[in-house]
């Protein structure tokens, strides 16, 4: 194990957990979505770190260059970013509707209103 060589991974994990914490600890639904976004973007960083090759160059074929970064994680993350936006858009649409129906976007207040309804 090599702490210096891995600080990238460690920081990425810390970021992920900050996002994850926001998702599970905050009651506000918009905040949850923002936390989810941070969680996802940090996972993307994990992938890109995996694909990084030190001394390599961006994977666009250029004459005279032999060492490229790994393009596959880039491709995967491009797809995942799109998935992230799609989720964010849908989640926000849901929150807007929840606000209209319940008058609040705080999870515990919503739960109280729901329980009152039975």
């Amino acid at each position: 194990m090599n702490l210096l060589g891995h600080y990238n991974y460690i920081v990425v994990v810390v970021l992920m957990m900050l996002g994850f914490y926001t998702v599970i600890a905050r009651d506000n639904l918009v905040k949850k979505l923002i936390g989810l976004g941070i969680f996802q973007v940090s996972v993307f960083m994990l992938y890109i770190s995996i694909g990084y090759v030190s001394g390599g160059s961006v994977p666009i074929l250029t004459e005279g260059v032999t060492l490229y970064s790994n393009p596959l994680p880039h491709v995967l993350i491009l797809t995942a970013i799109v998935v992230g936006v799609a989720t964010l858009a849908l989640g926000l649409a849901l929150v807007v509707r929840i606000r209209e129906a319940f008058g609040t976007v705080e999870e515990d207040e919503i739960r109280l209103k729901e329980d009152a309804e039975g």
């Binding site: 961006v58 666009i60 491009l78 799109v82 858009a89 926000l92 649409a93 807007v96 606000r99 209209e100 008058g103």
Partner: protein
């Protein structure tokens, strides 16, 4: 916001430039970073800028939701259709090599078609989503 004099003039000036830049990003995706998705976002944001400054009521007639919906579906169909064409020409789904006599030419053709599909869908869906949010009125305080 159209009474914002400065904003209005600058937006009028910027919108065509954003459009050309977006399409440049699209068509040069093969040689440099970029591609259908980023271009779709840029094209949509040109329209979003228009809507922000001149009001949604002015943007809707220019890019009508019905038309956008058709373009969005059309993009998916274009992508899928290219794939099905691969099947019809005797290959697998999304096998572009069989689309032309020379496999490399076929690949090229296929990639151009599917990137267009991506552009269509992304640009129109982004704009539709913006319409859906911005076109809604704030609920009365409860």
């Amino acid at each position: 916001m159209s009474h914002h004099l400065i904003l209005r003039v600058v937006a009028k000036f910027l919108i065509p430039l954003i459009l050309v830049y977006g399409l440049y990003v699209h068509f040069h995706g093969e040689v440099s970073p970029g591609g259908g998705f980023q271009a779709g976002v840029l094209v949509a944001s040109a329209f979003i800028l228009h809507a922000l400054i001149f009001g949604l009521n002015k943007t809707r007639p220019i890019a009508r939701p019905g038309v956008l919906k058709a373009i969005a579906a059309g993009g998916v169909l274009l992508y899928g259709g290219t794939g099905v064409a691969g099947m019809l020409f005797g290959g697998e789904f999304l096998h572009y090599g069989v689309l032309a006599a020379d496999p490399v030419k076929g690949q090229h053709l296929g990639i151009i078609l599917i990137e267009l599909g991506v552009l269509f869908t992304v640009a129109s869906v982004m704009l539709l989503i913006f319409y859906a949010f911005a076109g809604r009125q704030k609920p009365e305080a409860q």
